[in-house]
Amino acid sequence: MTFDYSQTFRGLAGLPNTDNVPGSEMRYRDAFNLTLRAELERDPSVFVMGEDIAGGAGRFEKDGEVSYEEKKGFKPLDAWGGPFAATKGLIQDFGSERIKDTPISEAGVLGAAIGAALTGTRPVVDLMYFDFVTVAYDQLLSNAAKSRYMFGGQTKVPLTMFARSGAGTGHAAQHSESFYSMLVHIPGLKVVVPSDPLSVKGLLSASIRDDDPVFLVNDKKLINLSGFVPDAEVVFELGKGRYLRRGTDVTLIGMAYTSEICRKVAEKLEDSGVSCEVIDMLSLSPLDEDIILESVSKTNKVVIVDEDTPMCSMASEISSIIADKGFDFLDAPIKKVNSPHTPVPYNRDLEFSFMPSEERVIKAIQEIVEY
């Protein structure tokens, strides 16, 4: 039996039935690694660059013997295998030309990747923490996103970038950002936000195969999440959201880890008689307006859950779309659950108060469900 991934979009019962589908339970990080591996095998023009994506660059080993030159029988060191082991084991199978460790030079590295993408290869760049995007932002905005347009369509930039986002792991103010809207705001760039092992497989494959620059955001809180992943190739259509659950009383809209929050809240409220419909956006640019409006036209109430700080956030954008195009559907105010307008704090109590939580989502639902 083949896996019909189209069921993951608009599936009436939420996620598709995977009985008898060949596949296995695995963590998000493993699904990411296996998918990257599959894409490297599939297309020789794909290569990966980033800081410590192998680790211990330039050192080779064979049975405990060390060499600082490439020698027969010696394998390149894979000391880290990337932050959170995202690229573990790849250098040993694909070599250091395709799994390219870089110095800490985000702008130079991203710029070089864009130059490589403009000249016929398909680079994948690991920017490590999402916060480091700002170090390379000029290259991202002025070159990756604008080259096609400002040169009149004569070129394309088949580049994939990824990085780890989100609070909740004690990484503090400069390693915990979720500023999706700073990327979504850029015409010419696509932004995707997987929420489980299946979606990271489907979205990573799609991003690498896409001819436009795509940024894939990995929420750190999802990295050890387990779920079923089919063995078969899965390539999601960029720009489509999916229903994680169908319901009738209120629509919950999530992205990346907040989709997981929405799913859990919906389960919890089932017994108390509130029927929640859960949308997992998967892609923030392009944004699936249809699924949002389709759901709100039925439930007439909506809570948007977004870990980004509130001003000019995805939650604001989705609110404005509903207010503009779905005003007549609404029976209650649109509710946004964001992080507050503060940097991410270090102390765990403060950090967990910062992030959207199940409690805050439930409170927002309660405010509108009897409206």
Binding site: F47, E97, T102, P103, S105, A107, G108, V109, L110, G111, A112, A113, I114, G115, A116, A117, L118, T119, G120, T121, D138, Q139, S142, N143, S147, R148, Y149, M150, F151, G152, G153, Q154, T155, K156, P187, G188, K190, D210, D211, D212, G239, P286
Partner: protein, 324 residues
């Protein structure tokens, strides 16, 4: 140097000079839709470098990029039309003077963020090395003295050095970053000295003398093609006009300074040399000049008569594919 090559060098330099003069004239007539940055005075640099390149080699360029475009073989009609904002322009009128590109000619685009195109040339060289085609596809990064203050230059030079990429970093030191003198903004006298920090050869050449540039470029580009890694070339040069068309350089330069450089004008010293050593004749020089002068009239006429882009062009070319 053989006669044909000499003619090519002269033709290309004269074409840049006349293009810039014509372009400025048209800008002041209101034909350009935005700001333009003339490179007249600096012609020997791009010409001496690009004379060694083919369409398979890649160059990155700057806001002052017309000279690089012409030296790399771009069509002056399409360039002029681009500056006029016309649909027949090199980028359909969507890029303008500061964003002229031609990927079929190995021209990665003029770039209006100072220093931002440098890593693109490094990336093109990375592609070559990745594909094993270093011998016939090198990357050349053109930038000004102003860009040496940008971190991305230093990151790019380091990457090219540690990965031994076929890149030539070409700093056109025209002595002013906008209105700021290089003596104020750069801590060393010869920018080529920066190469030492990245273990690559650094050489300063006379950016007013195409023969000197040609010779220096020959060595650097050969090194790159042989897989021996990057070189930094500094060309000491001068722009005759202001930073952009409406900038009056008299506000920050002395007349003596302008005179000193114009005395060593690249076309003038070329002509003196080839006439005195009899490698070209006055007639052959005049023939080239007449040809180019005519080409400029045709470029303006082409741009003038070309249609505006359709308003629907506003929305095209943002993505290869976005939404169905």
């Amino acid at each position: 140097m053989e006669k044909k090559k000499l003619e090519e060098l002269f033709e290309s330099m004269y074409r840049i000079r006349r293009f810039e003069e014509t372009m400025l004239e048209q800008t002041f007539k209101g034909k350009s839709m935005g700001v333009t940055h003339s490179s007249d005075g600096q012609e020997a640099g791009p010409v001496g470098i690009c004379a060694h390149l083919t369409d398979k080699d890649w160059i990155g360029s700057t806001h002052r990029g017309h000279g690089h475009c012409i030296a790399k073989g771009l069509d002056t009609k399409k360039m002029m039309a681009e500056i006029f904002g016309k649909s027949t322009g090199q980028c359909k009128g969507k890029g303008g003077s500061m964003h002229i590109a031609d990927f079929s000619k190995g021209m990665l685009g003029a770039n209006a963020i100072v220093g931002a195109s440098i890593p693109l040339a490094v990336g093109a060289a990375l592609s070559s090395k990745y594909n094993g085609t270093e011998d016939d596809s090198v990357g050349v990064a053109f930038f000004g003295d102003g860009a040496t203050g940008q971190g991305v230059l230093h990151e790019s030079m380091n990457l090219a050095s540690i990965w031994k990429l076929p890149v030539i970093f070409v700093c056109e030191n025209n002595h002013y970053a906008e209105a700021t003198p290089v003596e104020y903004a750069v801590s060393i006298e010869d920018i080529s000295d920066r190469a030492a920090a990245y273990s690559m050869p650094g050489i300063t050449a006379d950016g007013m003398d195409v023969f000197d540039v040609y010779e220096v470029a020959d060595e650097a580009i050969n090194r790159a093609r042989k897989g021996e890694g990057p070189t930094l070339i500094e060309l000491k040069t001068f722009r005759y006009h202001g930073h952009f068309h409406a900038d009056d350089p008299k506000k920050y330069r002395t007349p003596e300074e302008d005179e000193k450089w114009k005395d060593r004008d690249c076309l003038k010293i070329f002509e003196e040399k080839v006439i005195s050593n009899k490698s070209m004749t006055l007639e052959s020089i005049k023939k080239i000049k007449d040809l180019i002068d005519k080409e400029m009239l045709e470029a303006v006429e082409f741009a003038e008569k070309s249609p505006m882009p359709d308003i629907s062009e506003l929305y095209s070319d943002v993505y290869v594919k976005y939404k169905d």
